[in-house]
Symmetry: C2
Subunit: 219 residues, 2 copies
């Protein structure tokens, strides 16, 4: 069994420590809702931050990419990474500029990624990434063939160290500002699907699947 | 006049180079639409990636935070950073798992950030961040006072080096997959506001301002 807590000195939230969470359930809920992660790594002292698709399987985060990318070339040697997933929930409008904020949930993982080389693990991850992004899709899309698996790189980051940070709720103004004649509150934001756009070359008679028409992220 | 192109060897898009853009207009449009950036930096070889608010003013990206945070303590010494803004536009469902993708626009900046210390520059940036996130709000919220300005750190990153990467349009399947009986297309995604939630302690008679009721990101 892995440790239930992901806390370490370097993942301890220093600023506004009340917002920090370290249990796997809290971190995994954020990872499982998100669609894009931001992967940070350094090459010769220069940091890079690259957005990419991912999936969590049990206690491992898998990052998808191409063997051609700078990121994967650098990371496959087993260098330290940070992976951050941020969900933006709303804008917090306080009476004072200073107390403006955002409601959000973010998860940060630290660790060393390894390149996934076993074809069966790669195939499982590729299918899981599709299913993570569009639940229900994995059973329909043509699975990757050997050639495609070779052309794809996958990185695995064991989830041992990390944290979540959450802000929710109304603005927190100073007492002396409460009577200011300024509207205050929260404007919730949500990532929502619009109408699906069928491919122009789609074979006739193929309806929009239910998992597309009714798409929504878990929460 | 700054150079019109932000391209450098280390910001040149290697994977799918057709998706790379280097002109300031393309990069600035992404920066100006986004709400959250991901800042990457390394401390003793360990990368960190932190989401935070920001604003672009002319050819400088300003990053907001607290003097207490690990990020700002590390960055104020003038260490190299990467700042990435990602806008997710849709999910691309191809007939094959391999050709699944996302439509997105992302901007990556590289450089060295400096701590902003002049109170007037700090005040201007704090007001601009509020106005960037909620256009129209800057004129209403109580401006930061000296005490609040002291409690806030602001970093400035000159925009000299970076790139944008954009994917748009339908799935691109292989010719031999086009007849598969699998729905294919794009599910557009959009970050939209829901109904504003007034603060429970709001003074009576304060209506939701137009810039909140009609909120939308520039695009």
């Amino acid at each position: 069994m892995p440790e239930p807590s992901l806390q370490s000195p370097r993942t301890t939230v220093k600023r506004l420590p009340k917002r920090g969470l370290y249990d796997r359930d809290a971190v995994y809920a954020i990872l499982d809702e998100g669609l894009v992660c931001h992967v940070g790594f350094a090459v010769e002292g220069q940091p890079y931050v690259i957005p990419t698709a991912y999936v969590r399987i049990a206690d491992t985060l898998y990052i998808h990419g191409s063997a051609a990318s700078r990121m994967l070339k650098s990371l496959s040697g087993g260098i330290p990474v940070a992976v951050t997933v941020t969900l933006l929930d709303g804008l917090v409008l306080a009476r004072s500029a200073f107390h403006h904020s955002m409601n959000y949930r973010s998860a940060v993982l630290l660790g060393t990624a390894r390149l996934v080389e076993a074809p069966d693990e790669k195939a499982r991850v590729m299918a899981a990434i599709v299913e993570h992004i569009v639940p229900g899709r994995g059973a329909e899309a043509r699975p990757a063939n050997d050639h495609e698996l070779k052309a794809t790189s996958v990185l695995a980051l064991p989830i041992d160290e990390g944290s979540a940070k959450v802000r929710s709720g109304p603005p927190l103004d100073d007492a002396e500002d409460m009577a200011l004649p300024v509207w205050a509150g929260v404007l919730p934001l949500r990532l929502v699907p619009e109408h699906p756009i069928a491919d122009a070359a789609l074979a006739t008679g193929l309806a929009v699947p239910g998992y597309v028409a009714g798409y929504r992220r878990p929460r």
